[in-house]
């Protein structure tokens, strides 16, 4: 019976083409990044690190990288706090307006980032807050919170509550129960949510491009601007570094939570 579930040669050839298509642009970037030449060419005989050195000597890229790192780390952390609190409310209480609140928290997934970007630009312009790193981070929090909320809700709904009830019977306060029992039990959801939020914020372009100023440019926005102006292998080197950072985060996510669970659970 199991023999009948094999993929035939046509299916495997199709599969090879799809995998090739998916990985081709990433593979080309990682190869071109090591070119010793001045143009975007594949290295043939020699490999060089000169374009990686060039990236680190380029103050704009370094500043943008640090901006992105800060924004993503802070946005992911605050998103986790908001999502755990909101997740407890949505999972454990039945109250008027629960459905509306749920829709509000998940709305950024349905609104194109382009629209969020122009909407925030309008708000920040009226507040006189354009180009502030604080408000940029606030925008990122809104975009990444739904991802964390979904994982937290999934973790909460699968939770066996007898341990919490036992603790309450034994006289633990609700804060102690939350800190000592609930949080440890949903920890994979929290850490997985944090990493997913971090990656999504770190990669965000379309909203950020409207609400960054020269001082607060994040790395994807910097790369976009660089790519529209000049084409040299430095762009490939930055891209290769970004792929490396993402791959590292991805492996970490996979270890903690199972990447297929996180990504497929989104569907």
């Amino acid at each position: 019976m199991s023999g009948m579930r094999h993929n035939g040669p046509v299916a495997l050839a199709f599969h090879a083409l799809v995998v090739g298509f998916v990985l081709a642009p990433l593979a080309v970037i990682c190869l071109v990044a090591f070119t010793p030449a001045n143009t975007l060419t594949l290295p043939t005989t020699q490999f060089s690190l000169r374009w990686f050195t060039a990236v680190f000597a380029h103050p704009d890229f370094v500043a943008s990288f640090l901006n992105s790192l800060w924004v993503a780390a802070i946005a992911a952390t605050i998103a986790v706090v908001l999502a755990v609190a909101a997740g407890l409310a949505l999972d454990r209480y039945d109250f008027r307006g629960r459905a509306a609140l749920n829709a509000l928290f998940l709305s950024p997934l349905m609104i194109p980032h382009l629209v969020l970007g122009v909407a925030l630009l309008r708000l920040f312009a009226l507040l006189g807050a354009t180009g502030s790193l604080f408000w940029l981070t606030a925008g990122h929090i809104v975009v990444v919170t739904p991802y964390v909320l979904r994982l937290v809700l999934a973790a909460l709904s699968g939770l066996d509550r007898s341990a919490e009830q036992a603790a309450v019977t034994l006289g633990a306060s609700s804060w102690t129960v939350f800190r000592r029992i609930t949080v440890p039990m949903i920890l994979p959801g929290i850490t997985g949510g944090w990493l997913l939020a971090f990656i999504n914020s770190f990669d965000e372009l379309t909203m950020s491009i409207f609400i960054t100023s020269p001082a607060t440019v994040t790395l994807p926005v910097r790369m976009y601007m660089y790519a529209t102006e000049s084409i040299d292998p430095m762009m490939a080197a930055v891209s290769a570094l970004m792929i490396a950072v993402t791959a590292a985060a991805m492996l970490l996510l996979d270890r903690i939570f199972g990447l297929d669970k996180i990504l497929v659970g989104q569907g």
């Binding site: 579930r5 199709f14 799809v18 122009v118 790369m223 891209s239 993402t246």
Partner: protein
Amino acid sequence: MSSARADTTPWLLAAPGALLFTALVVVPLALTLMLSFHVYDAATGVKDAYTLAHYTAILSDSYFLNIFWRTLRLAALTTLICAAIGAPEAYILSRMREPWRSVFLLAIIGPLLVSVVVRTFGWSMLLGPAGLVNEAFRALGLGTVKILYTETAVVIALVHVMLPFMVIPVWTSLQKLDPMVEAAAWTLGASRFTALRRVVMPQVTMGLLSGSLVVFGLSASAFAIPALLGGRRLKMAATLVYDEYMHELNWPLGAAIAILVLVINLVIMLAYQRVVEARAKRTLG
């Protein structure tokens, strides 16, 4: 959980998030909707008078209509190609053995986490006049083909970025299908094709539908891909909004276009929910 506390506790828990989301989602959207009705004057900027002129301009000027038509056409084409590639690929993946199944699932959906700018840049290198694709064409004696800055380049990159959004829901719905059911159809004399059509396809339809809607919505509002691979002349809705805001400085017009993009997205999502609900009703009887 006493009943006296039960009324306020959920609200206290949700309040910080709810306030932030109201301030940074609901209020800005309302402001943008209002902005789209403001009069704009090229010399003096946004005025305190109201007009429908931006909407009538977008819906009557052939320049804007062409861009909207291109956006919808390319998004639809991307959706079709993603369905044609993504559904069979999800099926093939579901029939693989471990560890290959996990490895290739990661390879297919992992790039989802790599920034769109990076992936778009990769395609601009592959598709450029000196890129690998054209080198292959020259080696085959086909000469150099202009791909970069054409609709073809935009669609190729869109398919690449959107493919995981198609594979994921189809894969999820295939997971719910017991492989023994397909095997039972074969045992009962159904051909491979009949089993696929009568047993697997119905199960996959909902996944395919939800994947298609996500892909269409995201493609229609995509920014980086048309901006970097379409060039200046080949505009789509998102690059048009960017131009109105950043180059023309006509914010009210840009706002009107953004509102239209949002409305199209929401209509698609609501239509999808209707279909899902109707289907749920039918299965429940």
